[in-house]
Amino acid sequence: MVDYGALFVLFLFGIALAGTIVAMATLFGKKLPNRYKKQVYEAGSEPLGDARIRINVKFYMVAISFVMFDLETVFLMPWAIVAKEFGGAGLAAAMFFVGVLVVGLIYEWRKGGLEWE
């Protein structure tokens, strides 16, 4: 349990720091509200209306591409840490994995998945 003491201190410090910054901004900050700033999503999404709206399929393409590169990182990071011990066989396996992803990337590129319009 003692080992987690430092973590707990960090946790408290994090809360205190974030709380202080928010409190200072609320107390001393300049407030210039307008219609757009008061909306729920500052990104500009429509906050009211039917939840079942059509979402452009392009966003899914972005998400899928993200997953591909994300997975690559997730698998290559642990391998990179022990790459020396894993030696040639590990390198071959990692390269095969990257190769499979590259095929996926080529496929996506040729299918036009990387173009926004």
Partner: protein, 552 residues
């Protein structure tokens, strides 16, 4: 543990070949003009699949080996099932090209998905670890969801894909949940380790009450039951079959044959590995009383529901979908017989032959159906098929052969397969199961299954009767294509070969049995056959945990 050897790679060579071919097909697809027809990709796919089948035949080891640090089992079961699913894949690919052109969905991804699904099945049956099993299962399943929904402008196909996906995801979740139980209890995901832990002398006491909180819950049994139900969902066995008729009739016709045939035999093969491996009692004689009881009820339900509902169907693909539920039941019947040690080897031989016959003939039947069409759709009702056998004798004859095989009549493969299946199940009734009445029930199931397969047979024969009916349908015609002809020819030759000379496949089945079953079981049949009941206490002593809590 670090690294791998060439032996490791050799063991997975067929799957590797299929995956590489799938990637090659994807690349070929994207570097060609969209207007260019994709027929050559069907040939590439068929060639790769047949090569994978040939390779798995050639590399089949004389002794089972454990590869990849114990995660993959390289033995005859994996090789035989890989070979037959790959051949079914080749037949499906060849039969698809004309159909896809007609529906204007002629794209290379279709063939890549077929290859990936086959590779997944190959990995699944070779798994010796639940993580690898799950990997293979998902690889096959995700590809099959996409194949089902492949006709994306059709509402029916999208609906089919979505239903299949939801139920399939539920199945996968149940599998993982079950594995979590077993891994939590034994501390491993490996088949060998889990099997050893479950068979340990004090396993019953240890596992029945690991926490002291729930004193009566046999947790390993809960895990096994969840895993088993997951496979029942994937195989579309009753009472978990409700997705099958919609998914099978909405999917592109050629894929339906592949999904229902190859998918089923890969699933049942993985179950056989589990049953004969980690979940088996040391001499298998306790099997029927334990979770084989579940297989028994699922088999009864599937055979009854599948055959009887198939009789009422007006649409051919729906009829075949329902009867595929019945076929899942027959495969589960063989699984029940595995629980009786005198019949264990026979049940494995029977399931290999039955699975091979079913996968090949089913793929063949669906590609012929896909070739019969009108306008942009395929022929579906019985009336639309009427007279086609007279108009196109060769295709009519081939379709009749495949349906006869599914009905279990000579000279097609289905006849020998059903014969060996029912005789094994009946023989299992003479064996020593605990409790003894289970074996007797198996005999009744064999007799009842036989009667119901006659009922199911009528559904097939009705289609044949329509094929040779007098009033020809005007708008439906056969769409010829050399690839279709080749695919049908391969399926027909194999169906006849297995029907007339089943010896070779039975020998392969025998090899599988020899490599799959523990040594004690194989020694058994000759000596122990008649006077067996005295053996029962021994089995109870070893694994008593499943017996107590079941409804039986």
């Amino acid at each position: 543990m670090i690294g791998f050897t060439s032996a490791d790679l050799l063991g997975l060579l067929p799957a590797l070949l299929l995956v590489l071919a799938g990637m090659a097909v994807l690349l070929l697809e994207v570097f060609q003009r969209a207007s260019f027809p994709r027929t050559h990709l069907a040939y590439v796919t068929a060639l790769a699949a047949l090569a994978a089948a040939g390779v798995s035949y050639l590399i089949a080891p004389a002794e089972p080996q454990t590869l990849w640090g114990g995660m993959v089992r390289f033995d005859a079961l994996g090789c035989v099932i890989t070979a037959f699913t790959a051949v079914a894949c080749a037949i499906t690919a060849l039969g698809s090209t004309r159909y896809l052109e007609e529906l204007e969905i002629d794209r290379g991804e279709y063939y890549a998905l077929l290859l990936f699904a086959t590779a997944g099945m190959s990995v699944m049956v070779s798994a010796n670890d639940f993580v690898v099993l799950f990997l293979g299962l998902e690889m096959a399943a995700v590809a099959m969801y996409a194949l089902t929904a492949y006709q994306r402008r059709s509402n029916l196909s999208s609906e089919a894909g979505f239903k299949y996906f939801l139920l399939g995801a539920l199945g996968s979740a149940l599998l993982v949940y079950g594995v979590a139980f077993l891994t939590g209890l034994t501390g491993s995901t490996g088949y060998d380790e889990i099997g050893a832990a479950l068979r340990a002398p004090d396993a019953a006491r240890h596992f029945a009450n690991p926490t002291g909180v729930v004193p009566f819950l046999p947790l390993p049994l809960v895990g096994m039951a969840l895993i088993f139900v997951a496979f029942l969902i994937k195989m579309a066995a009753a009472p978990f079959h409700m997705w099958a008729p919609d998914a099978y009739s909405g999917a592109p016709t050629p894929t339906t044959g592949f999904l229902s045939g190859a998918g089923k035999i890969a699933g049942v093969a993985a179950l056989f590995r589990l049953f004969a491996g980690p979940f088996a009692t040391p001499d298998l004689s306790g099997g029927l009383a334990g979770w084989t009881t579940l297989a028994f009820f699922a088999a009864v339900a599937s055979i009854v529901v599948g055959n009887l509902v198939a009789l009422t169907q007006k649409r051919v693909r729906r009829m075949l979908a329902w009867s595929s539920v019945a076929h899942a039941g027959y495969l589960l019947l063989a699984l029940c017989a595995l629980g009786v040690k005198e019949a264990a080897a026979g049940s494995i031989r029977a399931v290999i032959l039955y699975g091979a016959a079913y996968a090949i003939a089913n793929a063949g039947a669906f590609i012929v159906l896909a070739a019969f069409g009108r306008d942009k759709a395929e022929a579906d009702t019985l009336d639309e098929l009427s007279g086609l056998g007279r108009k196109h004798p060769a295709m009519g004859l081939a379709l009749s052969l495949f349906l006869i095989s599914a009905a279990g009549l000579p000279p097609a493969a289905g006849f020998v397969a059903k014969l060996s299946l029912f005789s094994t199940a009946f023989a299992a009734g003479e064996g020593a199961a605990t409790p003894a009445y289970c074996a007797e029930m198996l005999q009744w199931l064999a007799v009842g299954g036989l009667v119901l397969s006659v009922a199911g047979g009528l559904a097939y024969l009705r289609v044949i009767a329509h094929l040779y009916g007098r009033d020809a349908h005007v708008r439906v015609d056969y769409r010829p294509h050399p690839a279709t002809t080749l695919g049908v020819a391969i399926a027909a030759v194999l169906t006849l070969w297995m029907g007339l000379m089943p010896g070779r496949v039975l020998v392969w089945g025998g090899n599988v049995a020899k490599q799959l079953l523990p040594a004690e079981v194989q020694a058994a049949p000759a000596e122990v056959a008649p006077a067996a009941p005295t053996e029962a206490p021994k089995a109870i002593e070893v694994v008593p945990l499943p017996t107590a809590e079941l409804p039986l």
